[in-house]
Structure formats: structure tokens, C-alpha cells
């Protein structure tokens, strides 16, 4: 179990270093997904299966997909297609794929071996999370809602403005 933890942590660290050092955005993102998955496995090993699932769904799922959408929508020119083909060449996938395979092997080993958590850690399941969020921390949940409201109102205001004309000559032309 200890060994599994260290291997997963090493994968997380390696993948994150690759995210930072990679110059190609798509490659960096692939490693980012691996990093999130590794963190999810770490959570699982520490006895927090619910958080592990959230990590996969929210971070590796929703957020990364969102980032990919933004990147792809920013380059809609013809050369972008060629570039995309180059980005998704087979050689690129090897690194992330290998790391993910290691993670998968580990996960299978854990599940088959039925070792869920180290004996000294208590398992926090989804019920416990819910009880604490809607029990003592309910004001915190409400405050998170307000936080989102602040974010949405701000994004709405900053996002709705027309493209501003920076140069004064262009301004005259436009008017």
C-alpha cells in the first residue's frame, strides 16, 4: 500500500513537471489530465473515495475539457488544422499513456487486492461529506454560492463589452 502511494505520487509529480515545462499547450494538457488522475488515486488510497471521484469528474473531466475548447476555438484558421494534426501525432501520446497505464494497473491491483485504505486512516464516504457540508459548514456552502455570484456578475460585466478600439485613428475611422 505504501508502495502504491509513492508510485502514484511520483507519477503526479512527473506529470506536473511535464505540464510546466512543455511548450505545446495540448501536450501540457494531456499531462495535466494524468496529474489529476494521479491525485485522484492518491485521494482514493488515503481513504477518500468520494473526493477521488470528484477530482476525476470536475478537474480531469469538466475543467480540462473547457480549457481544450478554449484553445481550439482560439485557432480557427487553416494552418490550425495542420497544427492540430501535428499536435495529436502518435508519438506525443506515449508519455501520458504510459503514465496512465501505470495508474490503471495500480487501481486494478488495489481493487482486486481489496485493500481500501491504510488501517490507521478512517474512510470518508460521500455521506460523511454531505453530513458535514450541510451540517456545521452550511454557512460555508452558502458563502460559496455568494462567491459564485460575484464571479458571474463580474464575468458578465467584463465579457459583454464590445471590442474596444485602442488606437485613436481607428476610433475616428470607426465613427
Amino acid at each position: 500500500m505504501q508502495l502504491a502511494f509513492y508510485i502514484t505520487s511520483a507519477i503526479a509529480v512527473i506529470a506536473t513537471v511535464m505540464v510546466i515545462t512543455n511548450h505545446n499547450l495540448i501536450h501540457a494538457l494531456l499531462y495535466l489530465v494524468v496529474s489529476f488522475l494521479a491525485v485522484a488515486v492518491v485521494f482514493y488510497l488515503l481513504g477518500a473515495p468520494f473526493v477521488a471521484a470528484l477530482e476525476v469528474i470536475i478537474y480531469a473531466g469538466a475543467i480540462v475539457v473547457l480549457i481544450i475548447f478554449v484553445i481550439m476555438m482560439l485557432n480557427l484558421k487553416e494552418e490550425a488544422v495542420a497544427q492540430e494534426r501535428q499536435w495529436l501525432s502518435r508519438g506525443i501520446i506515449t508519455g501520458p499513456a504510459l503514465l496512465s497505464l501505470v495508474l490503471l494497473a495500480e487501481l486494478i491491483y488495489i481493487i482486486v487486492g481489496a485493500q481500501v485504505a491504510p488501517s490507521d486512516a478512517q474512510i470518508v464516504d460521500s455521506k460523511a461529506v454531505g453530513m458535514s457540508l450541510y451540517g456545521p459548514y452550511v454557512i460555508g456552502v452558502e458563502l460559496s454560492g455568494i462567491l459564485l455570484m460575484a464571479g458571474i456578475v463580474g464575468a458578465y460585466h467584463l465579457g459583454r463589452q464590445k471590442k474596444k478600439i485602442v488606437h485613436r485613428f481607428l476610433e475616428e475611422e470607426a465613427s
Binding site: P136, G140, L143, I146, A150, V153, G154, L158, K164
Partner: protein
């Protein structure tokens, strides 16, 4: 939830309802005046409720909040400052922005975040309050999209604030790993059961200092201050300088007192270095600026350095000194930025020194008010700033922090130069006639003018007759 629980959180509740009410009001019809009135009234009602409710004892809502005298005092201070900022915002935004309504939602939410910050006794509420404050500020700073500098300021604040939040979170995580709780009092009792502070906890506190220091804008986390102050709209700058920094300062005092940080020499050393560096670097950089907003930015760095002197002194006197200085500093900063806002025209803020040349001859009243604000910042007798500084020195001397007190005195002298320089510029005769910038109905400016006048009177009144404020602070802090 008991009745006292409910009554204690009513100030938060009023602000949230006001934000939602404004949202609905925008959905029905966009009317700047209506939304301005809603904001003003809700902030005023909130303050009146706070005074009326007058908690007689400390009340705790487990595990997140504590409502004690210190928290109540800071809540009231934040509410009044937000009210003053709202007052100066109306005329400012009326002539600049077509969509001005969302600003008030963000202002109210930022105020809410700051209040959560000053009443929190748990890392969760600390972080949530801080984030509500920061997220609202991102958009408030970049609110005037047509200005060249606003985007730059907004992006700078966004990236640096996100970074500093990450540091803060990591620090909290380290403390939690070692201690196993996120409540201030429990961290304290756990730490006191140990002989020495574990390295991991110390590292955690160090990382948290980065996050806290960024919000306070103290050296070496001050890089954002000047650019953000310059790029943000003047009322927002007033808000950052006062509510955002004051909220964090109150939290720092609460946290440090709770864990009894004074027994750890490492922490004291870190904060001493930060205080001295902030005073010197803030003042020296301010000397070289030609832009009034940047001067005020650097001078606020120095002022936070002064505040840290009383914070390091600790004890009842130290906390009283911090509270009193915050009052004086809030009044002065809001006033100074308010005057900057009223002098600004449609395209840019009145931020260059040249905008103030000969102000005494063209607008004597405004110039007089601005002069009294600057003199208070410099700490000249008969102003609130003087009493505040006196309080700081008294707190420092009592704890024999001679080095810090001497540094404070030296820096006050350095600071005088740039404040006097602005006043001298206002005294100069101006040959070139500048066109009057006020294009709106003069009644719009009455509100701003009256607010400025009230702030000036308060400033001098507290400076001449500080007893009332001192007794108030003393009584509230003695509450248990």
C-alpha cells in the same frame, strides 16, 4: 439555528439580500439612481442594526464565526467605509460608464467578504471571505473597460491574487496536516501542548504570511499596489486601500492573538522585517512619483508598515492602537481618493500632480479638504492621523520595541516630504486656465461634496477630541 445565531448573522443577511434585490431591480429596469439608493439604504440599515443590536457578550457560531467586540467594531467600520465609497461612486460612475449597475452588486459582495473575514475563526470562513472579496475586486478594478490601464490593473491583480491564494491554501494545508484542525483556538491549544513549534507548522505559517502579506500590500508583496491603484477607478482604489487591507489586518490580529504568535521568535522576526521594509521602501518609492494615485499607493504600503508596529506590540494597547489607527487611516484614505474622484473628468482620473496645480485658487474648499487629508496621512497634530500615530508609538514604547519606534519616527519625517510637495503644488499660482470638468447636474456633486465635508469634520474632530473614539474602542474590546 437559535435566535441569537440568527440575529448575529443578520448583518451578512442584509448585505446578501441587498445584492439579490439589486439583481432583480436590474432585471426590471436599469436605473442608476434606484440602485444607488438601494445600496446606500441597505448599508445604512446594516450599520444601524449593528448599533441597535449591541451584542452584550461574545457569541460563537460553531465552527466558523465569532461575534465579539473586535469583530463588531471592524464590521461597523467596514460598513461605514463602504457607505462612504458608495457616496463618492455615484457622481464618478454617472459620467463614465454606460453599465454602472453591476458595480454596486460587486461593491456589496466585496463588503460582505471583508465582514466574513473579520468575524472568522476558522480557515474555511477565512478563505471564503477572502475569495469573495478578491473575486469581486477583480471585476471592480477592471470595471471601466474603455480605459487603457484598467485591463492591465485587473489582470495583474487577478494573477497575483490567485497566486497568493494558492500560497495561503498551501500554508493552511500544512498547518492542518500537522495539527489536524482548522479552527484558530484548537490550533492554539494543540500548539501550546507542544514544546516547540514543529517545522511543518512554521512552514505553513510562513506560506500563509505570503497570502496575508499580499492582501495587506506590504513589502516584499507590494509589487501590485501602484499599478492597481493607478488603473482602478478612484472609488475602487479607495475601497482596496481601506476595506480590503483593513479586513485582512483585523484577521491577522485575531489569528495571531489566538495562536499567541508572540511567543514564537521566528514569526516576530519575519513581521519585524516586513514592517521595517514596508516603511522604508514605501516611503522611498513614494518620494519619486509624479502621480498622486501612485504616491498614495506607496504611502499606503508605508502606513501598513506603521500598523504592524502596533500589531507586533500586541496586548490590549496594541490592538486598541491598531483599531484606532485603522479608523484614522480609513477616514483619510477614503477622503483623499474621494477628492481625487470628484476632480476627475470623463476620460481620466485627476492623478497627475499637474491636475492639482493652483487648486487653492480655483477650488479653495476642495483644496482645503484635500490638504487636511494629506496632513492627517503625514500625522500632523490636530488631525486623526496624529493621534493614531501617537497611539502606535505608545504601544511600541510600552513593549520596548525601540528599533521599530525609531524607524516609525524616521519614516514619518521622510513621508512629510511628499505630502507637503502635493500641498505646495496646490498653492502654486496657475497661469493656464483649465476648463471646468463638471459636466453633470451640480446636484450630483452635492452628495460627494457633503461626504467629503463629513469626512473632513470627522478627521479633525477625532484629532482634537479623540476621547470618544478611544472609549468606544476600549469598551468594545473589553467585551467578553
Amino acid at each position: 439555528m437559535s435566535k441569537t445565531d440568527f440575529l448575529s448573522v443578520v448583518p451578512l443577511f442584509i448585505l446578501t439580500s441587498a445584492a439579490i434585490l439589486i439583481l432583480f431591480s436590474i432585471a426590471v429596469k436599469r436605473d442608476h439612481k434606484v440602485i444607488y439608493v438601494i445600496t446606500t439604504v441597505s448599508l445604512a440599515i446594516d450599520f444601524i442594526f449593528l448599533v441597535w443590536y449591541k451584542a452584550t457578550a461574545t457569541w460563537v457560531i460553531e465552527p466558523l464565526f465569532i461575534f465579539d467586540g473586535f469583530g463588531t467594531f471592524n464590521t461597523g467600520l467596514i460598513l461605514l467605509t463602504a457607505l462612504a465609497v458608495t457616496m463618492i461612486s455615484y457622481a464618478y460612475f454617472e459620467q463614465r460608464e454606460e453599465r454602472k449597475e453591476e458595480y454596486y452588486i460587486l461593491l456589496i459582495l466585496a463588503t460582505l467578504g471583508a465582514i466574513v473575514l473579520v468575524i472568522s475563526k476558522h480557515f474555511v470562513s477565512l478563505f471564503l471571505g477572502l475569495e469573495i472579496l478578491s473575486v469581486s475586486l477583480y471585476s471592480m478594478i477592471a470595471y471601466l473597460r474603455k480605459r487603457a490601464r484598467s485591463d492591465e490593473a485587473g489582470i495583474k491583480y487577478l494573477i497575483l491574487a490567485a497566486f497568493s491564494s494558492a500560497f495561503l491554501l498551501f500554508g493552511m494545508a500544512l498547518v492542518y496536516t500537522a495539527v489536524g484542525t482548522m479552527e484558530f483556538s484548537k490550533i492554539a491549544s494543540h500548539l501550546s501542548s507542544l514544546e516547540a513549534m514543529p517545522v511543518i507548522v512554521f512552514a505553513g505559517f510562513g506560506l500563509m504570511t505570503v497570502g496575508i502579506g499580499f492582501k495587506l500590500g506590504v513589502v516584499p508583496f507590494h509589487m501590485w499596489a501602484a499599478d492597481v491603484y493607478e488603473g482602478a477607478p478612484a472609488p475602487v482604489t479607495a475601497f482596496i486601500a481601506t476595506v480590503s487591507k483593513g479586513g485582512m489586518m483585523a484577521l491577522l490580529v485575531r489569528f495571531f492573538t489566538a495562536i499567541d504568535g508572540y511567543q514564537y521568535h521566528g514569526l516576530i522576526l519575519i513581521f519585524t522585517i516586513i514592517a521595517i521594509a514596508s516603511m522604508f521602501i514605501g516611503n522611498f518609492l513614494a518620494l519619486r512619483q509624479g502621480n498622486v494615485k501612485r504616491v498614495l499607493a506607496y504611502s499606503s504600503i508605508a502606513h501598513l508598515g506603521y500598523l504592524l508596529v502596533a500589531f507586533l506590540a500586541g496586548g490590549t494597547l496594541g490592538i486598541e492602537a491598531v483599531s484606532f489607527y485603522l479608523v484614522a487611516y480609513f477616514i483619510t484614505s477614503t477622503g483623499a481618493f474621494g477628492i481625487l474622484a470628484t476632480l476627475s473628468d470623463r476620460d481620466r482620473d485627476a492623478e497627475l500632480l499637474d491636475d492639482y496645480r493652483g487648486l487653492f485658487w480655483t477650488r479653495p474648499w476642495t483644496a482645503t479638504m484635500f490638504t487636511s487629508m494629506l496632513l492627517s496621512l503625514a500625522g500632523i497634530p490636530l488631525t486623526a492621523g496624529f493621534i493614531g500615530k501617537f497611539y502606535l508609538v505608545a504601544a511600541g514604547v510600552r513593549e520596548h520595541l525601540w528599533l521599530l519606534v525609531v524607524m516609525l519616527a524616521v519614516n514619518s519625517a521622510i513621508g512629510l516630504y511628499y505630502y507637503i510637495k502635493i500641498i505646495a503644488t496646490m498653492m502654486e499660482k496657475n497661469e493656464v486656465e483649465r476648463p471646468a470638468s463638471n459636466e453633470l447636474n451640480p446636484s450630483v456633486y452635492v452628495v460627494s461634496g457633503v461626504t467629503m465635508a463629513i469626512l473632513t469634520i470627522l478627521l479633525i474632530w477625532i484629532g482634537v477630541h479623540p476621547n470618544g473614539m478611544m472609549v468606544l474602542i476600549h469598551e468594545l474590546l473589553a467585551l467578553d
